[in-house]
Amino acid sequence: MTGDDPAAGTAQPGPARRPVAPPGARPPDDLVECLFRTHALTLVRTAVLLVGDQDSAEDVVQEAFLGLYRSLARLRDPDKALPYLRASVLNGCRSVLRARRRARRRPPQHDPPVWSAEAAAMSRDDTRAVLAATTRLPRRQREVLVLRYYLGLADREIADALRVSRGTVSSTASRALAALARDLREEP
Protein backbone atom coordinates (compact mmCIF):
# COMPACT_ATOMS: atom_id res chain seq x y z
CA MET A 1 0.00 0.00 0.00
CA THR A 2 2.80 2.36 0.79
CA GLY A 3 6.44 2.38 0.05
CA ASP A 4 7.57 2.31 3.65
CA ASP A 5 9.09 -0.76 5.17
CA PRO A 6 6.32 -2.51 7.05
CA ALA A 7 8.73 -4.33 9.29
CA ALA A 8 10.41 -1.20 10.51
CA GLY A 9 9.47 -2.01 14.05
CA THR A 10 12.69 -1.26 15.81
CA ALA A 11 14.10 2.19 15.94
CA GLN A 12 13.80 3.07 12.30
CA PRO A 13 13.34 6.79 12.01
CA GLY A 14 11.03 8.04 9.32
CA PRO A 15 12.32 8.58 5.82
CA ALA A 16 12.60 12.31 6.16
CA ARG A 17 15.13 12.62 3.37
CA ARG A 18 13.06 10.89 0.73
CA PRO A 19 12.25 12.96 -2.30
CA VAL A 20 8.82 14.50 -2.24
CA ALA A 21 7.98 13.21 -5.69
CA PRO A 22 10.00 11.49 -8.39
CA PRO A 23 11.00 13.56 -11.37
CA GLY A 24 8.22 13.66 -13.91
CA ALA A 25 5.36 13.31 -11.44
CA ARG A 26 2.60 15.51 -12.76
CA PRO A 27 0.55 17.56 -10.38
CA PRO A 28 -1.98 17.41 -9.01
CA ASP A 29 -3.20 13.82 -8.67
CA ASP A 30 0.13 12.16 -9.42
CA LEU A 31 1.72 14.26 -6.74
CA VAL A 32 -0.85 13.32 -4.09
CA GLU A 33 -0.68 9.63 -4.95
CA CYS A 34 3.09 9.68 -4.92
CA LEU A 35 3.14 11.48 -1.59
CA PHE A 36 0.69 8.96 -0.19
CA ARG A 37 2.69 5.97 -1.38
CA THR A 38 5.93 7.40 -0.06
CA HIS A 39 4.96 9.11 3.15
CA ALA A 40 1.56 7.89 4.39
CA LEU A 41 2.95 5.16 6.62
CA THR A 42 5.51 7.48 8.17
CA LEU A 43 2.89 10.14 8.77
CA VAL A 44 0.54 7.60 10.37
CA ARG A 45 3.35 6.40 12.61
CA THR A 46 4.20 9.97 13.54
CA ALA A 47 0.58 10.62 14.42
CA VAL A 48 0.45 7.41 16.46
CA LEU A 49 3.32 8.72 18.56
CA LEU A 50 1.36 11.90 19.21
CA VAL A 51 -2.20 10.63 19.67
CA GLY A 52 -1.45 7.10 20.82
CA ASP A 53 -3.67 4.89 18.65
CA GLN A 54 -3.75 3.90 15.02
CA ASP A 55 -7.40 4.63 14.26
CA SER A 56 -7.17 8.25 15.32
CA ALA A 57 -3.79 8.59 13.63
CA GLU A 58 -5.18 7.33 10.34
CA ASP A 59 -8.13 9.70 10.61
CA VAL A 60 -5.69 12.57 11.03
CA VAL A 61 -3.60 11.53 8.04
CA GLN A 62 -6.65 10.98 5.83
CA GLU A 63 -7.86 14.46 6.72
CA ALA A 64 -4.44 15.86 5.91
CA PHE A 65 -4.50 14.32 2.43
CA LEU A 66 -8.05 15.52 1.86
CA GLY A 67 -6.86 18.98 2.85
CA LEU A 68 -4.00 18.66 0.38
CA TYR A 69 -6.47 17.83 -2.38
CA ARG A 70 -8.43 20.94 -1.55
CA SER A 71 -5.32 23.11 -1.47
CA LEU A 72 -3.72 21.83 -4.65
CA ALA A 73 -4.90 24.78 -6.70
CA ARG A 74 -3.09 27.16 -4.38
CA LEU A 75 0.05 25.04 -4.14
CA ARG A 76 2.60 26.49 -6.51
CA ASP A 77 5.68 24.66 -5.29
CA PRO A 78 5.36 20.84 -5.10
CA ASP A 79 8.21 20.78 -2.59
CA LYS A 80 5.92 22.56 -0.14
CA ALA A 81 3.43 19.69 -0.20
CA LEU A 82 5.24 17.49 2.31
CA PRO A 83 5.79 20.28 4.86
CA TYR A 84 2.11 21.14 4.37
CA LEU A 85 1.13 17.53 5.14
CA ARG A 86 3.37 17.43 8.21
CA ALA A 87 1.86 20.64 9.54
CA SER A 88 -1.65 19.31 8.82
CA VAL A 89 -0.90 16.12 10.71
CA LEU A 90 0.44 18.07 13.68
CA ASN A 91 -2.64 20.29 13.70
CA GLY A 92 -4.91 17.27 13.36
CA CYS A 93 -3.21 15.56 16.30
CA ARG A 94 -3.70 18.67 18.41
CA SER A 95 -7.39 18.67 17.52
CA VAL A 96 -7.73 15.01 18.48
CA LEU A 97 -6.03 15.61 21.82
CA ARG A 98 -8.21 18.68 22.46
CA ALA A 99 -11.35 16.68 21.67
CA ARG A 100 -10.25 13.93 24.02
CA ARG A 101 -9.71 16.39 26.82
CA ARG A 102 -13.26 17.62 26.29
CA ALA A 103 -14.64 14.08 26.22
CA ARG A 104 -12.61 12.80 29.12
CA ARG A 105 -15.68 11.83 31.08
CA ARG A 106 -16.91 9.51 28.37
CA PRO A 107 -15.58 5.96 28.15
CA PRO A 108 -12.77 5.78 25.59
CA GLN A 109 -13.70 4.38 22.18
CA HIS A 110 -10.19 4.36 20.75
CA ASP A 111 -7.60 1.65 21.12
CA PRO A 112 -5.38 1.76 24.20
CA PRO A 113 -2.54 4.20 23.60
CA VAL A 114 0.83 2.76 22.66
CA TRP A 115 2.24 3.90 25.98
CA SER A 116 -0.36 2.08 28.13
CA ALA A 117 0.45 -0.95 30.27
CA GLU A 118 -2.05 -2.91 28.23
CA ALA A 119 -0.19 -2.09 25.04
CA ALA A 120 3.08 -2.96 26.76
CA ALA A 121 1.65 -6.30 27.70
CA MET A 122 0.65 -6.78 24.08
CA SER A 123 3.95 -5.81 22.57
CA ARG A 124 6.16 -7.18 25.33
CA ASP A 125 8.68 -4.37 25.21
CA ASP A 126 10.09 -2.05 27.79
CA THR A 127 9.74 1.19 25.88
CA ARG A 128 6.56 2.10 27.68
CA ALA A 129 8.40 4.06 30.35
CA VAL A 130 9.98 6.33 27.76
CA LEU A 131 6.75 6.74 25.80
CA ALA A 132 4.76 7.40 28.95
CA ALA A 133 7.32 9.99 30.03
CA THR A 134 6.93 11.80 26.71
CA THR A 135 3.19 12.02 27.26
CA ARG A 136 3.86 14.00 30.43
CA LEU A 137 5.80 16.63 28.52
CA PRO A 138 4.17 19.82 27.26
CA ARG A 139 2.63 19.44 23.82
CA ARG A 140 5.27 21.39 21.91
CA GLN A 141 8.18 19.57 23.55
CA ARG A 142 6.63 16.26 22.59
CA GLU A 143 6.08 17.35 19.02
CA VAL A 144 9.68 18.49 18.73
CA LEU A 145 10.95 15.16 20.07
CA VAL A 146 8.81 13.13 17.67
CA LEU A 147 9.79 15.23 14.68
CA ARG A 148 13.46 15.12 15.59
CA TYR A 149 13.94 11.57 16.88
CA TYR A 150 11.33 9.68 14.89
CA LEU A 151 11.11 11.58 11.62
CA GLY A 152 14.74 12.68 11.85
CA LEU A 153 13.97 16.21 10.69
CA ALA A 154 16.53 18.98 10.92
CA ASP A 155 15.82 21.84 13.30
CA ARG A 156 15.06 24.10 10.34
CA GLU A 157 12.39 21.70 9.06
CA ILE A 158 10.93 21.32 12.54
CA ALA A 159 10.80 25.08 12.82
CA ASP A 160 8.89 25.24 9.53
CA ALA A 161 6.45 22.56 10.61
CA LEU A 162 5.76 24.14 13.98
CA ARG A 163 6.05 27.75 12.72
CA VAL A 164 8.56 28.75 15.33
CA SER A 165 12.16 29.85 15.13
CA ARG A 166 15.14 27.47 15.01
CA GLY A 167 16.31 28.76 18.36
CA THR A 168 12.97 27.86 19.87
CA VAL A 169 13.28 24.34 18.46
CA SER A 170 16.75 23.89 19.96
CA SER A 171 15.81 25.20 23.37
CA THR A 172 12.55 23.23 23.41
CA ALA A 173 14.36 20.00 22.54
CA SER A 174 17.01 20.66 25.16
CA ARG A 175 14.43 21.30 27.84
CA ALA A 176 12.45 18.23 26.80
CA LEU A 177 15.48 15.94 26.98
CA ALA A 178 16.42 17.32 30.38
CA ALA A 179 12.89 16.81 31.65
CA LEU A 180 12.81 13.26 30.31
CA ALA A 181 16.15 12.47 31.92
CA ARG A 182 14.87 13.79 35.24
CA ASP A 183 11.63 11.85 34.88
CA LEU A 184 13.42 8.63 34.02
CA ARG A 185 16.13 9.30 36.59
CA GLU A 186 18.83 9.12 33.98
CA GLU A 187 22.09 11.01 34.11
CA PRO A 188 21.78 13.95 31.71
Binding site: Q62, S116, T134
Partner: protein
Protein backbone atom coordinates in the same frame (compact mmCIF):
# COMPACT_ATOMS: atom_id res chain seq x y z
CA UNK B 1 22.03 12.98 26.93
CA UNK B 2 23.11 10.77 24.04
CA UNK B 3 21.75 7.74 25.83
CA UNK B 4 18.48 9.55 26.34
CA UNK B 5 18.36 10.33 22.63
CA UNK B 6 19.02 6.67 21.80
CA UNK B 7 16.31 5.53 24.17
CA UNK B 8 13.92 7.97 22.54
CA UNK B 9 14.77 6.73 19.07
CA UNK B 10 14.31 3.12 20.20
CA UNK B 11 11.02 3.83 21.91
CA UNK B 12 9.60 5.85 19.03
CA UNK B 13 10.75 3.26 16.53
CA UNK B 14 9.23 0.38 18.49
CA UNK B 15 5.91 2.16 19.02
CA UNK B 16 5.72 3.33 15.42
CA UNK B 17 6.60 -0.16 14.23
CA UNK B 18 3.28 -1.43 15.56
CA UNK B 19 1.67 0.34 12.61
CA UNK B 20 2.11 -1.85 9.56
CA UNK B 21 1.80 -0.78 5.97
CA UNK B 22 -0.76 -3.47 5.18
CA UNK B 23 -3.12 -2.30 7.89
CA UNK B 24 -3.48 1.37 7.05
CA UNK B 25 -6.21 2.75 4.86
CA UNK B 26 -5.62 3.75 1.27
CA UNK B 27 -5.55 7.19 -0.26
CA UNK B 28 -8.83 8.99 0.36
CA UNK B 29 -10.92 9.82 -2.67
CA UNK B 30 -10.67 13.25 -4.15
CA UNK B 31 -13.30 15.53 -2.61
CA UNK B 32 -16.20 16.18 -5.00
CA UNK B 33 -15.96 19.95 -4.91
CA UNK B 34 -13.21 21.23 -7.27
CA UNK B 35 -10.77 23.38 -5.31
CA UNK B 36 -10.86 26.25 -7.76
CA UNK B 37 -14.64 26.61 -7.69
CA UNK B 38 -15.36 26.60 -4.02
CA UNK B 39 -17.03 30.00 -4.38
CA UNK B 40 -19.83 28.18 -6.24
CA UNK B 41 -21.03 26.57 -3.01
CA UNK B 42 -21.97 29.76 -1.13
CA UNK B 43 -23.31 31.20 -4.38
CA UNK B 44 -25.57 28.19 -4.91
CA UNK B 45 -26.70 28.36 -1.30
CA UNK B 46 -27.56 32.05 -1.68
CA UNK B 47 -29.49 31.32 -4.88
CA UNK B 48 -31.43 28.55 -3.16
CA UNK B 49 -32.33 30.87 -0.29
CA UNK B 50 -33.48 33.51 -2.76
CA UNK B 51 -35.69 31.00 -4.57
CA UNK B 52 -37.26 29.87 -1.30
CA UNK B 53 -37.93 33.47 -0.24
CA UNK B 54 -39.47 34.22 -3.62
CA UNK B 55 -41.62 31.11 -3.40
CA UNK B 56 -42.88 31.96 0.09
CA UNK B 57 -43.52 35.67 -0.29
CA UNK B 58 -44.40 36.09 -3.96
CA UNK B 59 -45.48 32.93 -5.74
CA UNK B 60 -47.41 31.24 -2.90
CA UNK B 61 -49.58 34.32 -2.13
CA UNK B 62 -50.36 34.60 -5.82
CA UNK B 63 -51.41 30.98 -6.04
CA UNK B 64 -53.36 31.00 -2.79
CA UNK B 65 -55.21 34.23 -3.53
CA UNK B 66 -56.26 33.07 -6.97
CA UNK B 67 -55.49 36.50 -8.43
CA UNK B 68 -53.72 36.70 -11.66
CA UNK B 69 -52.38 40.21 -11.29
CA UNK B 70 -52.86 41.41 -7.71
CA UNK B 71 -50.23 40.33 -5.23
CA UNK B 72 -52.26 40.90 -2.07
CA UNK B 73 -51.69 38.04 0.31
CA UNK B 74 -54.73 36.83 2.22
CA UNK B 75 -53.93 34.05 4.61
CA UNK B 76 -56.32 31.13 4.36
CA UNK B 77 -56.67 27.99 6.35
CA UNK B 78 -54.83 24.99 5.14
CA UNK B 79 -58.05 23.13 4.41
CA UNK B 80 -59.64 25.90 2.45
CA UNK B 81 -56.48 26.38 0.48
CA UNK B 82 -56.74 22.80 -0.67
CA UNK B 83 -53.69 21.71 1.26
CA UNK B 84 -53.83 18.24 2.77
CA UNK B 85 -52.07 17.91 6.09
CA UNK B 86 -49.64 15.07 6.28
CA UNK B 87 -50.63 12.39 8.78
CA UNK B 88 -49.05 12.51 12.21
CA UNK B 89 -46.24 10.01 12.60
CA UNK B 90 -47.23 6.91 14.43
CA UNK B 91 -45.69 6.51 17.85
CA UNK B 92 -45.21 2.77 17.28
CA UNK B 93 -44.00 1.08 14.16
CA UNK B 94 -45.01 -2.53 13.77
CA UNK B 95 -42.18 -4.69 12.55
CA UNK B 96 -41.20 -8.27 12.97
CA UNK B 97 -37.45 -8.17 12.38
CA UNK B 98 -35.00 -5.69 13.81
CA UNK B 99 -31.51 -5.51 12.41
CA UNK B 100 -29.24 -4.93 15.37
CA UNK B 101 -25.72 -5.10 14.07
CA UNK B 102 -23.90 -6.00 10.88
CA UNK B 103 -20.35 -7.16 10.16
CA UNK B 104 -18.62 -7.32 6.81
CA UNK B 105 -15.74 -9.64 6.00
CA UNK B 106 -14.64 -12.39 3.68
CA UNK B 107 -15.95 -15.28 5.71
CA UNK B 108 -15.79 -17.92 2.98
CA UNK B 109 -12.38 -16.76 1.76
CA UNK B 110 -13.38 -16.37 -1.88
CA UNK B 111 -12.26 -12.76 -2.17
CA UNK B 112 -15.72 -11.22 -2.17
CA UNK B 113 -17.17 -9.37 0.82
CA UNK B 114 -19.81 -11.20 2.82
CA UNK B 115 -22.31 -9.65 5.20
CA UNK B 116 -23.35 -11.10 8.55
CA UNK B 117 -26.35 -9.54 10.25
CA UNK B 118 -27.73 -10.12 13.72
CA UNK B 119 -31.50 -9.91 13.56
CA UNK B 120 -33.93 -9.77 16.45
CA UNK B 121 -37.23 -11.44 15.59
CA UNK B 122 -40.08 -9.99 17.58
CA UNK B 123 -43.74 -10.94 17.70
CA UNK B 124 -45.87 -8.80 15.41
CA UNK B 125 -46.90 -5.55 17.02
CA UNK B 126 -43.74 -5.11 19.11
CA UNK B 127 -41.26 -2.39 18.33
CA UNK B 128 -37.53 -2.73 17.89
CA UNK B 129 -35.74 -2.17 21.15
CA UNK B 130 -32.25 -1.25 22.16
CA UNK B 131 -31.84 -4.44 24.17
CA UNK B 132 -32.05 -7.82 22.53
CA UNK B 133 -34.72 -10.46 22.93
CA UNK B 134 -34.17 -14.22 23.12
CA UNK B 135 -35.19 -14.66 19.48
CA UNK B 136 -32.01 -13.76 17.71
CA UNK B 137 -31.17 -15.00 14.27
CA UNK B 138 -28.04 -14.64 12.22
CA UNK B 139 -28.37 -13.89 8.53
CA UNK B 140 -25.38 -14.40 6.25
CA UNK B 141 -25.21 -13.17 2.68
CA UNK B 142 -22.19 -14.26 0.71
CA UNK B 143 -20.78 -11.89 -1.87
CA UNK B 144 -20.64 -14.63 -4.48
CA UNK B 145 -24.26 -15.58 -3.89
CA UNK B 146 -26.16 -17.68 -1.41
CA UNK B 147 -26.33 -17.51 2.34
CA UNK B 148 -28.36 -18.72 5.29
CA UNK B 149 -30.58 -17.53 8.10
CA UNK B 150 -30.37 -19.45 11.38
CA UNK B 151 -31.13 -19.01 15.08
CA UNK B 152 -28.21 -17.61 17.07
CA UNK B 153 -28.30 -18.88 20.63
CA UNK B 154 -24.93 -17.82 21.96
CA UNK B 155 -25.86 -14.39 23.30
CA UNK B 156 -26.69 -14.11 26.97
CA UNK B 157 -27.86 -11.20 29.04
CA UNK B 158 -28.91 -9.00 26.16
CA UNK B 159 -25.40 -8.57 24.82
CA UNK B 160 -24.03 -9.43 21.37
CA UNK B 161 -24.17 -6.09 19.65
CA UNK B 162 -21.33 -4.16 21.27
CA UNK B 163 -18.65 -6.38 19.73
CA UNK B 164 -19.75 -7.96 16.47
CA UNK B 165 -16.93 -7.75 14.01
CA UNK B 166 -14.95 -9.62 11.40
CA UNK B 167 -11.34 -10.36 12.21
CA UNK B 168 -8.66 -12.40 10.48
CA UNK B 169 -6.95 -14.34 13.24
CA UNK B 170 -4.84 -16.51 10.94
CA UNK B 171 -3.95 -13.93 8.32
CA UNK B 172 -5.16 -16.25 5.55
CA UNK B 173 -7.67 -13.78 4.14
CA UNK B 174 -10.57 -15.69 5.61
CA UNK B 175 -12.45 -13.79 8.28
CA UNK B 176 -13.63 -15.06 11.61
CA UNK B 177 -16.48 -13.47 13.55
CA UNK B 178 -15.87 -12.03 17.03
CA UNK B 179 -18.96 -11.53 19.15
CA UNK B 180 -19.35 -10.21 22.65
CA UNK B 181 -21.69 -12.81 24.09
CA UNK B 182 -22.30 -11.33 27.52
CA UNK B 183 -23.60 -11.89 30.05
CA UNK B 184 -23.22 -8.43 31.51
CA UNK B 185 -21.30 -5.22 31.95
CA UNK B 186 -18.85 -6.48 34.58
CA UNK B 187 -18.40 -10.10 33.54
CA UNK B 188 -18.22 -10.27 29.81
CA UNK B 189 -16.96 -12.78 27.29
CA UNK B 190 -15.96 -12.62 23.65
CA UNK B 191 -16.52 -15.70 21.51
CA UNK B 192 -15.04 -16.43 18.10
CA UNK B 193 -16.93 -18.15 15.32
CA UNK B 194 -16.27 -19.73 11.96
CA UNK B 195 -18.81 -18.66 9.36
CA UNK B 196 -18.95 -20.92 6.34
CA UNK B 197 -21.48 -21.96 3.75
CA UNK B 198 -22.46 -24.79 6.06
CA UNK B 199 -23.41 -22.50 8.91
CA UNK B 200 -21.85 -20.83 11.93
CA UNK B 201 -19.97 -22.64 14.68
CA UNK B 202 -17.60 -21.60 17.45
CA UNK B 203 -13.85 -21.94 17.00
CA UNK B 204 -12.34 -24.34 19.54
CA UNK B 205 -9.56 -23.97 22.08
CA UNK B 206 -7.22 -26.94 21.69
CA UNK B 207 -6.56 -28.97 24.82
CA UNK B 208 -2.76 -28.84 24.64
CA UNK B 209 -1.44 -26.07 26.86
CA UNK B 210 -4.90 -24.81 27.77
CA UNK B 211 -4.66 -25.80 31.43
CA UNK B 212 -1.37 -23.93 31.85
CA UNK B 213 -2.99 -20.85 30.39
CA UNK B 214 -6.04 -21.18 32.60
CA UNK B 215 -8.28 -21.72 29.59
CA UNK B 216 -10.96 -24.33 29.18
CA UNK B 217 -10.71 -26.53 26.08
CA UNK B 218 -13.79 -26.26 23.93
CA UNK B 219 -15.59 -23.28 22.43
CA UNK B 220 -13.28 -20.29 21.95
CA UNK B 221 -14.60 -18.08 24.74
CA UNK B 222 -12.28 -15.46 26.24
CA UNK B 223 -12.58 -12.55 28.61
CA UNK B 224 -14.15 -12.52 32.02
CA UNK B 225 -14.25 -9.80 34.60
CA UNK B 226 -13.94 -6.16 33.62
CA UNK B 227 -13.86 -4.19 36.86
CA UNK B 228 -11.47 -2.11 38.93
CA UNK B 229 -9.64 -5.16 40.28
CA UNK B 230 -9.61 -7.60 37.38
CA UNK B 231 -9.36 -6.86 33.67
CA UNK B 232 -9.69 -9.47 30.94
CA UNK B 233 -9.29 -7.89 27.54
CA UNK B 234 -8.63 -9.95 24.44
CA UNK B 235 -6.89 -8.68 21.33
CA UNK B 236 -5.69 -9.82 17.97
CA UNK B 237 -2.14 -8.72 17.41
CA UNK B 238 0.12 -8.80 14.34
CA UNK B 239 3.70 -9.58 15.26
CA UNK B 240 6.61 -7.83 13.57
CA UNK B 241 7.23 -10.98 11.50
CA UNK B 242 3.67 -10.78 10.12
CA UNK B 243 2.24 -13.74 12.02
CA UNK B 244 -0.93 -13.19 14.01
CA UNK B 245 -1.79 -14.17 17.55
CA UNK B 246 -4.86 -13.86 19.66
CA UNK B 247 -3.76 -12.39 23.00
CA UNK B 248 -5.86 -13.11 26.05
CA UNK B 249 -4.98 -11.06 29.11
CA UNK B 250 -5.96 -11.61 32.70
CA UNK B 251 -4.80 -8.62 34.72
CA UNK B 252 -5.31 -8.58 38.47
CA UNK B 253 -4.61 -5.69 40.77
CA UNK B 254 -2.24 -6.70 43.55
CA UNK B 255 -3.30 -3.90 45.83
CA UNK B 256 -6.50 -2.17 46.81
CA UNK B 257 -5.58 0.81 44.65
CA UNK B 258 -6.63 1.05 41.04
CA UNK B 259 -3.14 2.19 40.13
CA UNK B 260 -1.82 -1.25 40.95
CA UNK B 261 0.68 -2.80 40.71
CA UNK B 262 -1.04 -5.30 38.46
CA UNK B 263 -0.10 -8.88 37.70
CA UNK B 264 -0.69 -9.44 33.99
CA UNK B 265 -0.97 -12.96 32.67
CA UNK B 266 -0.70 -13.00 28.92
CA UNK B 267 -1.62 -15.96 26.76
CA UNK B 268 -0.90 -16.12 23.05
CA UNK B 269 -2.90 -18.42 20.80
CA UNK B 270 -2.56 -19.19 17.11
CA UNK B 271 -5.42 -20.26 14.88
CA UNK B 272 -4.80 -23.46 12.94
CA UNK B 273 -7.84 -24.62 11.03
CA UNK B 274 -10.72 -24.05 13.39
CA UNK B 275 -8.68 -24.57 16.58
CA UNK B 276 -6.81 -22.04 18.67
CA UNK B 277 -3.57 -23.42 20.05
CA UNK B 278 -1.74 -21.94 23.03
CA UNK B 279 1.72 -20.90 21.85
CA UNK B 280 2.89 -18.81 24.77
CA UNK B 281 2.06 -17.94 28.37
CA UNK B 282 3.83 -15.26 30.38
CA UNK B 283 3.25 -13.34 33.56
CA UNK B 284 4.55 -9.87 34.38
CA UNK B 285 3.95 -7.24 36.99
CA UNK B 286 3.27 -3.76 35.69
CA UNK B 287 2.41 -0.46 37.29
CA UNK B 288 -0.90 0.91 36.13
CA UNK B 289 -3.32 -1.01 33.98
CA UNK B 290 -6.06 0.97 32.28
CA UNK B 291 -9.45 -0.06 33.61
CA UNK B 292 -11.54 0.21 30.54
CA UNK B 293 -14.49 -1.21 28.69
CA UNK B 294 -12.66 -2.40 25.58
CA UNK B 295 -13.38 -6.13 25.45
CA UNK B 296 -11.81 -6.92 22.11
CA UNK B 297 -9.18 -4.98 20.23
CA UNK B 298 -9.28 -5.98 16.61
CA UNK B 299 -5.70 -5.54 15.51
CA UNK B 300 -6.16 -8.04 12.67
CA UNK B 301 -8.61 -6.45 10.25
Amino acid sequence: MNRMEDRLRDAFGAAAGTVRADTIRGLPGRPPSPPGRRWLVPLAAAAAVAVVIAAVFVITPLVLSGHRGAATYRPRSATSAGVTRSPQPSARVTVGRCVHVTATGDFDGDGTPDVVTLVDVLPAGQTCRQDLSDHLRIRVTFGSGGGFDRPFTYCTGGACDSVFTATDLAGDGRSELAVEVGPGAVIDFVEFFRVSRHGISPLRIAAAGAAKAGLKPGPAVFGGSQDSGVQSPVACHIRPDGSRVLVSIQAESLSSRITGPWRVKRTELQLRGDSLHVVGVSTATVRGFPVRSLRFRNGCP
